[in-house]
């Protein structure tokens, strides 16, 4: 990874961290945020989709730690 790429990562993470002090969503306002459509965690169908896409494509990761995978990878 080049210095430029490292810089981009650092800027993204810093920008996200900086947001920590800005948001003022109160617990009683989190109804929409709790909707299943707003959740980042993968359900079984999405996890399977990711699994087979990684078996067909050269890249992987970005959304959480990986297991050892399978022989198809």
């Amino acid at each position: 990874m080049t210095r430029c790429h490292t810089l981009i990562v650092m800027i993204l993470l810093a920008a996200a961290s900086a947001g920590a002090g800005c948001a003022t969503v109160q617990p009683w306002q989190r109804g929409l945020l709790a909707d299943s459509c707003m959740i980042f965690d993968a359900d079984s169908a999405t996890a399977y989709m990711t699994h087979w896409q990684e078996a067909r494509e050269g890249s992987m990761g970005g959304f959480g730690v990986q297991g050892g995978g399978c022989g198809c990878k």
Binding site: M1, H5, I8, V9, L12, L13, A15, A16, S17, G19, A20, G21, C22, A23, T24, V25, Q26, P27, Q29, R30, G31, L32, L33, D35, S36, C37, M38, I39, F40, D43, S44, A45, Y48, M49, W52, Q53, R56, E57, G58, S59, M60, G61, G62, F63, G64, V65, Q66, G67, G68, G69, C70, G71
Partner: protein, 369 residues
């Protein structure tokens, strides 16, 4: 002549039987998983899914899986996953030696225990995957912490894997280790907007050549030779945005780079809508583009150090579209309690290499007493 016909008939029967075997394995596994749904677990949830994959090479993969979650207390949760991949008429690399198709099966089991400590959560777990000619064993740990009245979540994880490919048809077993680290920040900006940025680094050492895929080296089909070290970086940015009228928009982007010079960009956009209180429908589009590895060539001459026939190291683009519906009937699904949700999903994938696949998923999420 009669003998030839008889031989042909028995071969057809043998092929048909061999193609039925993965289906039987998948159906048996699904039956066991559904039987588990009938057990009276306490304060738990069980997701049972059945995935069917078929591609333009004639490969079919049937994959039932189950994810079970049990709360032992208000601070400790156990998660178990068990899955099977039953593969028939395996890929073109198998067809070279097995013209009638070759079957494969994979079993994967995953366990994780999550413990809450105030605003922090610690998860420790592991995964074992076994199949013909490949074994993977992984240990993983992750930690997350809520900040700013739970509007910000900082998470990180680490995994170590020992992978052991067997160089079929020989009995030689190679070794490969993978170390994976991940960090993310999830931020709720408004009551309808949440974002996540993440970074993942993955270092793989050891044997990384695909032992089944061949390329032309001086005109002769030859198993490739890939470097023994690969470092992979991925940066992701994701958005979930609530829109008016019970509609939700999602956008994901991932940038990827590795030391073999494979670079990729992945974009995904989706919309979901609540049709009343019991049906959620949605669709998504995904575009993927990647460059080839620095040692990739369509064919090789001379005495190159590295060469490959692995399609994952070729340059290509792909597009896929997905449709999905979740239905939660008022009185539950047949023999399952109220609150159970049925999920149906279909994805169509096209790559510029000519590869086309269709993937269907049917699943039920069952809240257990």
């Amino acid at each position: 002549m009669k003998g030839r016909w008889a031989g042909s008939a028995s071969r057809v029967a043998a092929v048909a039987a061999s193609r039925r075997k993965p289906l039987l394995i998948a159906l048996c596994a699904l039956a066991v998983l559904l039987a588990a749904a009938g057990y009276n677990w306490a304060q738990n949830q069980l997701d049972v899914s059945f995935h069917a994959f078929q591609d333009s090479r004639g490969v079919t993969v049937l994959s039932p899986d189950a994810n079970f979650s049990k709360d032992f207390s208000d601070r400790t949760t156990l998660k178990l996953k068990f899955g099977v991949d039953a593969i028939s008429a395996a890929s073109d690399s198998c067809a070279r030696c097995h013209p009638n198709g070759a079957n494969n099966g994979r079993v994967v089991a995953n366990v994780g225990v999550t413990r809450k400590y105030g605003d922090s959560k610690l998860t420790v777990g592991g995964e074992v995957s076994r199949e013909n000619f490949y074994t993977a064993t992984t240990g993983l740990v992750s930690l997350s912490r809520d900040l700013n009245k739970a509007n910000t979540t900082v998470a990180g994880g680490f995994a170590f894997s020992l992978n052991q490919p067997q160089l079929h048809p020989s009995d030689t077993v190679e070794h490969q280790t993978a170390v994976d680290a991940y960090g993310s920040v999830t931020q709720s900006w408004t009551k309808g907007t949440v974002t996540q940025v993440g970074y993942e680094i993955n270092q793989v050492n050891g044997y990384q050549t695909n032992p089944f895929l061949r390329t032309k080296l001086n005109g002769v089909l030859t198993v490739g030779n890939s470097p023994d070290s690969r470092t992979r970086h991925a940066v992701s940015a994701r958005l979930r945005q609530a829109l008016p009228a019970e509609t939700f928009f999602d956008a994901d982007y991932r940038w990827y780079h590795d030391t073999w010079d494979v670079n990729s960009h992945t974009f995904a956009l989706g919309l979901s809508h609540h049709f009343g209180s019991r049906v959620v429908g949605g669709g998504a589009w995904r575009h993927y583009t990647q460059t080839g590895a620095y040692f990739y060539q369509p064919s090789y001459t001379g005495n190159p150090t590295y060469y490959t026939g692995d399609f994952r190291l070729f340059p290509f683009d792909s597009n896929s579209v997905t449709g999905k519906v979740d239905i939660t009937p008022k009185n539950g699904i047949v023999m399952m309690p109220p609150g159970s949700t049925l999920t149906l999903q279909y994805e169509r994938y096209h790559a510029t290499t000519g590869f086309v696949a269709g993937i269907f998923t049917g699943g039920v999420r069952i809240p257990l007493k």
